[in-house]
Amino acid sequence: MSVYLRLAAAQVRAHAQYRASFVIDLISNAVVTMLDVFSVLILFRVTRALGGFGVRDVLVMTALSATAFPLADLLVGEIEKLRGYVRTGLLDTVLVRPLSALFQLLAIDFSIRRVTRVVQGTIFIVIALTLADVHWTPARVVLAVVAPITGGLFFCSLFIAGASVAFWWIDSGEIANSLTYGGRDFTMYPVTVYAEWFRRLFAYGIGFAFVAYYPALALLGRPDPLGAPAWLGWASPLVAPIAMTLAGLAWRTGIRHYRSSGS
């Protein structure tokens, strides 16, 4: 862990060398979550309800999503660059070192600026839950703390699984973005807005419904208009360990599949 912290700290120092750029970067990151919230509010300027939910309910989902995703982006977002390392063969240098390859790749380009997004998301959850007038119980407090974290871990596994595709298909380009950034967009809104087949695929097939939608229903004490039992919201954190296991499997299979670039 101390090695990881050192590599990460070195990255922070390196970025800070370009001072003007670093400052603009920090500021941009400070507004990104506000933009997500702003988009939702703008939609509600035109309509009164989205998929049967009012603005306060939707904002709880958006807040959970807007914390979970940046958390994953902070921890493992840099794994997106794996494609480049596989293409150039740079992954070799990582593999010959006596440290876990996954661990090093994450530290190679750690970005401190992303911390601000997680902080913003957290503040936003507090605001959204206050506005939503939640009937607080100890269990709900625990869920409000656990849900964004397990949601973050769920997104982590998607980042890792998506990047692992590069081991087989180097030119996969942005395809992993459909899952990661696409998942962020998907989880911002109630799953009721999507058509049946799309919902089956994204919400239940991949499991995005358990990041924000079901935890939000449990927090708000609302029944699912789609008819799912109430305990589903409380069980949704369990999706994270399952996803982590599958992603770990994909990663390990992928890295065994890796044959250098030959250059």
Partner: protein
């Protein structure tokens, strides 16, 4: 340039043949990345579904902010196809060359750098029309049905509007990349552009969702609506197409001129990196 008089040398040299040759080279260069283009089109299509369902939930059965159901689906799906053609994000060629010092080679060429890169970019956009525009548009048409224009002239107007969007967007990207002459590291500026352009060009929601005064302000103060909202409004026949295209023409001229001016400034202060 110090005197402030901008003389724009388009650098066509002997003929437009150079320009056409550069554009063809750009087309060929990008057409080698076929798998990546397919992956990008696939991603655009996924986001098309995401955006379309949300925005259709907003329109419901009626009209929202000037768009009915068919207009909204066209707005989303043509927009997803246009993303790759206009090339809103992800172009850092010039900035990378400035950082490494390779830009020196561009300055030695007999063609002005802005013209050189514009020609290549038009070639890129041409390839993107085939590789990036078709898939989302067809999927959108099959899955949701697109808006059928009432006037025949909408088709050529949309083509013109799209071309202007490509050129304006190129000039915007050129300016942003040029910031590397002064900053070297462009992460910050890029993120600012990605966030600002996404919001102001109409990617997340049609700009008419905003209050009228905000819509007008964004149109007058930023080139962003000229990159996205304008061609889409022309395609779905919302408002007067000549007004949107007129606005685009103005922004194209302004941004190209700015790109030239900044390029001149940069050449005066340039310190070549590397060794």
């Amino acid at each position: 340039m110090a005197s402030g008089t901008a003389t724009v040398d388009l650098g066509f040299g002997p003929s437009a043949r150079t320009f056409a040759a550069l554009a063809r080279a750009g087309f060929r260069r990008y057409s080698t990345y076929r798998q990546a283009a397919f992956a990008a089109a696939f991603t655009n299509t996924t986001f098309g579904f995401l955006r379309c369902y949300v925005l259709l939930a907003v329109t419901g059965g009626g009209v929202a902010a000037g768009y009915d159901r068919a207009m909204m689906t066209s707005f989303v799906w043509l927009g997803q196809g246009m993303l790759g053609v206009v090339g809103l994000w992800g172009w850092t060629d010039l900035a990378d060359r400035i950082r490494t010092g390779d830009v020196l080679a561009d300055l030695l060429r007999p063609v002005a750098p802005v013209t050189n890169y514009l020609a290549t970019d038009l070639g890129r956009a041409g390839f993107a029309m085939l590789a990036r525009f078709v898939l989302p548009t067809v999927v959108g048409a099959v899955a949701f049905g697109l808006y059928a224009p009432r006037h025949l002239y909408t088709y050529p107007l949309f083509a013109l509007s799209l071309l202007l969007a490509v050129v304006t967007c190129f000039a915007c990207r050129y300016l942003i990349n040029s910031a590397a002459y002064w900053l070297l590291d462009l992460r910050g500026v890029n993120i600012l552009w990605i966030l600002g352009s996404g919001l102001c060009c109409g990617l997340y929601f049609p700009l008419t969702f905003l209050p009228d005064w905000a819509f007008a302000t964004i149109w007058l103060a930023t080139p962003c609506p000229a990159l996205f909202q304008a061609p889409l409004d022309v395609a779905v026949e919302r408002g007067n197409p000549l007004l949107w295209i007129g606005g685009q023409l103005a922004w194209t001229a302004i941004m190209l001129l700015l790109a030239h001016v900044v390029q001149r400034r940069a050449e005066r202060k340039l310190v070549i990196q590397g060794g």
